[in-house]
Symmetry: C2
Subunit: 122 residues, 2 copies
């Protein structure tokens, strides 16, 4: 098995289709821009498909053995601290040879400050 990196962006998921579409469009932009990951997908914690376990299993089936899970969340709430790790660990137990790691959530990024200040003067 060669070393293949995949990125899985996790959003909360919404009843509004347009919000989920925004996530899929963002994922497409990540795909275009990423040099580090050979594949970029998205998954939803609830209210939209695919689920996190479904997306992770798909990446494992496609041969990825290094998967970075990136929470598109703003605060260190229950979703980031408990729910996403719990969904990851279900799949991690099924495939002990696959490394699945959770990256820091978006709101934790130091760069959020500069990004907000740029938005503020648009």
């Amino acid at each position: 098995m060669i070393n293949e990196n995949a990125l899985l962006l996790i959003a909360h998921g919404s009843r509004r289709d347009r919000s989920n579409t925004e996530i899929r469009e963002l994922t497409e932009r990540l795909r275009t821009r990423s040099e580090h990951f050979s594949r970029v997908e998205c998954a939803f914690l609830e209210l939209a498909e695919p689920s996190i376990p479904h997306a992770l299993r798909g990446l494992v089936a496609a041969g990825f053995n290094e998967i970075t899970v990136l929470p598109y969340f703003l605060s260190r709430g229950r979703h980031v601290v408990e729910d996403i790790p719990a969904e990851i660990s279900v799949v991690a137990r099924e495939y002990p040879a696959v490394r699945i790691r959770q990256a820091p959530y978006l709101g934790d990024a130091e760069g959020v400050v500069d990004l907000l200040l740029r938005q503020a003067v648009l």
Copy 2:
């Protein structure tokens, strides 16, 4: 009245105190880094204080006549499209001489893509 710019960061608000504290800490970082705004505050759409109208009235009372409202939100949902504009318009009607504008929400920023990719390899 001199021209004074203030920035009001709007978060959803949470039942979890720590999430609201994260917003207040982010506001402090914005305050430290901002050169364009003479004052930076935060307000919450629900579940935490201050409310958006309360914070806006406080800025007007302090002499600010140019206020930028910046939604710390990830998707173009009802909160960004309807709820925040509705709260702004209540106060805008009270003070026609004050310019209150809503900046694009965080998730709309093109720079989110690069920020996410940086988080992914941390």
